[in-house]
Symmetry: D3
Subunit: 69 residues, 6 copies
């Protein structure tokens, strides 16, 4: 499957924190740095997300804010 | 300023492509990989974004999709 | 590839309208109804999007607003 | 009220799952297929959302990702 | 129509800037301050948006970032 | 820090409601009106958000929907 979202950052799952309906998943990127995703609990179970598993953070370019000092 | 968005990926601007109203800004991350942001032309001018400038890609965790193979 | 976004609506591309940087792609859903996506021109070229091609509209559940009369 | 969001998919509420602060609402679309919305618990109560009620899934075009096989 | 998005800020349209596919609409809020919306050109025409017209900025709570000094 | 998001609405925190993973923060705007943000519990703790504290609601223009009667 190819998708239109321009950003795909590969890494490894470092932590999965399940909430009542929403889970937080931390992905340690290959090049260093952590990306946190807020997704549904169903998605965590459906994708079998667990610490140590390879995963990619996908982000639409219209969802990226640029900051400068 | 401190912000609630959980993801802040530091890098250097690699390309700025201005459209009619919307610009695409490519940020080469410190750890490697490129993040593309789709922002307004005004924001590019307001922040003085240009190739070679330090910049941070800021992403809300609710805007991150997780993918696995 | 499996992704965490909960919504995947299958259909056929009905129209592709390229802008300066941003393109609008209309997908006619299998069950009827049209979904319009606003994506980058690069994504249109990268995915080879064209009228008549099968495509899926992917939407994060946190991006869906519910309305009632 | 008319709104700028380009996507309005009509259906019937199939399930409402309340969390601590965030609820998941499943809408079965007229043409088939399910759309899941992640909204606040307050919104569920404010709109009186319940199984069997008519509802429309509203999605901004900039929140739609296109995927192809 | 009632919608699940928690934020509805009323005001008057101050400026409409059409792009190739994407338009920027500035709304001067009742209580002061400007909100800029980036929407499709079709939406501008469909809603008949023009300077001086009453309009409401609708924002999902999951799209609001909080900042502190 | 300067950011590309075009909307920054200043106000004072009126309520903080913590969920299992997601918190709702209500900001009373200077000019009147309330903006609700849905952010992570970590962000609330990290920024020390509490009732009475000054805060700014930051919103990307691509996340603003325009409505007219």
């Amino acid at each position: 499957m190819k998708i239109s979202a321009r950003n795909a950052l590969e890494g490894t799952i470092k932590e999965v924190h399940m909430g009542a309906t929403t889970a937080h998943v931390e992905i340690e990127l290959k090049g260093g740095g952590i990306v946190t995703a807020s997704i549904t609990n169903e998605a965590v179970e459906d994708l079998g997300l667990a610490v140590g598993k390879k995963a990619t953070a996908i982000i639409k370019s219209s969802d990226v804010i640029v900051a400068v000092d």
